[in-house]
Amino acid sequence: MTALCGYVLSEWYDLRDLGNPVQALLDWINGWGDGSTFHWLAYVVAGLIGAAAIGLFLGIAMLSLIWIERKAVSRIQIRYGPNRTGPFGLLQPVADALKLMQKEALTPLAGDKYVFWLAPVVIFIPTLLVFGVLPFGPKMTAANINVAVLYIVAVGSATPLVIFMAGWSSNNKYSLLGAMRGIAMAISYEIPMVLSLLGVVLFTGHMDLNGIVQWQQKYHVWLIVLQPLAALTYFISASAELNRTPTDIAEAESEIVAGYHTEYSGMKFGLFYAVELGNALAVSGIWATLFFGGWWLFGLDRWIPAWLIFLGKMYILYGALILTRGTLPRLRIDQLLDFAWKFLLPLALVNVLVVAAEVTIWQENGISAGWVLPIAAVINIVLSGVLIVGYTQTFGFARRQRPRRARLVTDTLAAMPQ
């Protein structure tokens, strides 16, 4: 078995890492002519392959996500979900896409035509860009940037502007209201997100995602064990950026119809919907990469292709997003902003403080990793448990607001106030 692995390893047909065939292709192109005239062609081909792969993956992923989301949410609600279009409703995404494409895409007459058309197009861009830096395998990152972690936050910060574009150009008060709420929320939640990612960067010393995965591989640990507070804070703030329940105040369906995309119909709305799902997948992908080991699964990636492991983790963690969507009611905008500034921000700051202290002690004194990591893990887990439980018990709503049940009165005449 090992001999077979040795034979297959890192050859172009080693499909455990799809970067191998691509690399072989590029080397072959580079070898044309006299070795350096066609470098530009290799550059262009590399870019094209990366872009095409991401685009293709995203398209298929969004179709699959529509089905997964509807089936999972309906099972949480004790109903069947789509089961008529194809076996088990598997053709439902196709039906949805066809339905949206054949609908009339209305443009409001008094709105801003160009911005209205541009918003759904531009909202797709951050999703594509984020997927471009996720490491699907050891050599399968479309663009291995040195500052990938900060880059993810930076392209995500373009989303509030697009929401504003959509809300403004609809010439509709509901849409504008939804857009303003969405922007306020998005910029508030960027801060805890950056701080939690800062904890990760401090601990691993890498800002590029492949480096972080390889750090986890080197020390044989998943970062969630070492940084539970950062993981939780990142998850909550990133899912708040996604405009999904419990934080979908910008498109609260039962309140302001559909918020910033009320006026969109047809495929424009389809793009908003698809991007919401794609962003959710991107968040679960980032969570998988940073905290759950990415494409590395305790050495199993020798037999199972690394990109399959990564896809599996991404989809399993997407289940966490579906669970929160299906069960929790929606928070009001001021409660959401309170939550970001008064709960997540202090927690993220404390996390950065503790992590910085741990890393300094580790690096300055040269203690071996075998001692530092378990101790750090225990400290972090205990600290995060204490902080979260203590905070919610003292400042949360459920603690302060009693009674639990309505008071039962049998003797009504005596209880009637005079």
Partner: protein
């Protein structure tokens, strides 16, 4: 130094996923805060009260179904009680017990839907709604078993009920009653201490006690303010005085208290049913009343505790086969009158939650 913002008039409804029907609210917003609200009703006005003057008393019973279409049995009950009071008809024992059983089942069904849609308005994407609908489905199946219709039952008649219960009714009801306490426990566990729900509903749509009394609110609205006014205890009708049950009251009069009151009323209804179903006597379920009954000249007002509040029927008879005047005191309409006080100063999201907690049915508001 203040920032000048201009007030913003937003129309909520009439077509809106959560105005519980065609109800329109014009709110004047200052940022996110509502500074004035104007309610426009009448989109579903079908002039039922006028139409009823052209039809015989028995022909009017289906009209009452369609007013509060979510609790048809209580509507029927109130109307039949009013006509019986006018005509001096006594309903036999079995008829009374069947009426109580159907009314309490209707209460459970209605509250399941009311709580579910309330939490839907708070934003929970229909999950609690679907869970509670499972119970409501079983009750609607029972109704269908008995009178053939799930929603617009048309079951009560002047002098009793329309049909006797079929054989499979009692085992089904007993099965349901065994199941329900467990299910209610499950819902309580899921919903009661949910932090987000408390954060959304606590302090939202608060009604002070004297406003509640002065505006003649009834039902869970006034019981949420701490006043234990329930017609089943205050002015007992049918055979309610034979059963032992309590009245849940809240404390503050906000949406969360009304939600707690409705959850507790589910349990109380189960308690009443567990006393009523075994005690169902035999005998006739209806007295013989002519098809076009002519009550003597006069007027009568009868009221029942419908799940939404005090449902009253005021019937004036001139001796003919059709009522001279048929007026309904619709609880939803009267409860809706305090909406303006509830939402001023709150945000748009809060106003939707407050509206959901009143539990209105536009069929009743507009008639």
């Amino acid at each position: 130094m203040t920032i000048q913002t201009e007030p913003f008039i937003v129309n909520i409804g009439p077509q809106h996923p959560s105005t519980h029907g065609v109800f329109r609210m014009r709110v004047v917003l200052d940022g996110e805060k509502i500074i004035d609200a104007d309610m426009v009703v009448g989109y579903l006005h079908r002039s039922l009260e006028k139409l009823a003057e052209e039809r015989t008393y028995t022909q009017n019973i289906p009209f009452t179904d369609r007013m509060d279409y979510l609790s048809a049995m209580s509507n029927n009950l109130g109307y039949c009680m009013a006509v019986e009071k006018l005509a001096g008809i006594r309903v036999p024992e079995r008829g009374q017990y069947l009426r109580v059983i159907m009314a309490e089942l209707q209460r459970i069904a209605n509250h399941s839907m009311a709580i579910g849609t309330f939490i839907n308005d708070c934003g929970a994407w229909q999950t609690p709604l679907m869970w509670m609908f499972a119970e409501r489905e079983k009750i609607l199946d029972l109704f269908e078993m008995t009178c053939g219709a799930r929603l617009t039952c048309n079951y009560m008649r002047i002098g009793g009920v329309a049909f006797d219960i079929p054989d499979e009714f009692l085992p089904a009801v007993n099965g349901l009653l065994d199941d329900l306490p467990r299910k209610i426990d499950e819902y309580e566990k899921m919903l009661m201490e949910n932090e987000i729900l408390i954060a959304r509903a606590r302090g939202v749509g608060t009604i002070p006690r004297d406003l509640a009394i002065n505006a003649s609110l009834t039902g869970p609205m006034i019981r949420g303010c701490g006043i234990p006014f329930d017609i089943r205890k205050a002015d007992p009708y049918a055979v309610y005085d034979r059963f032992d049950f309590a009245i849940p009251v809240g404390e503050n009069g906000d949406s969360y208290d009304r939600f707690l009151v409705r959850m507790a009323e589910l349990r109380e209804s189960v308690k009443i049913l567990k006393q009523a179903v075994p005690a169902l006597p035999g005998g006739p379920y209806k007295v013989d009343v002519p098809l076009s009954v002519r009550p003597p000249v006069g007027d009568a007002y009868a009221r029942v505790e419908s799940p939404k509040g005090e449902l009253g029927y005021y019937i004036v008879s001139d001796g003919g086969t059709a009522p001279y005047r048929f007026h309904v005191r619709a609880p939803s309409y009267i409860n809706l009158s305090v909406l303006r006080e509830m939402v001023i100063g709150a945000s748009v999201a809060d106003s939707i939650v407050a509206l959901g907690s009143i539990d209105i049915v536009i069929g009743e508001v507009d008639r």
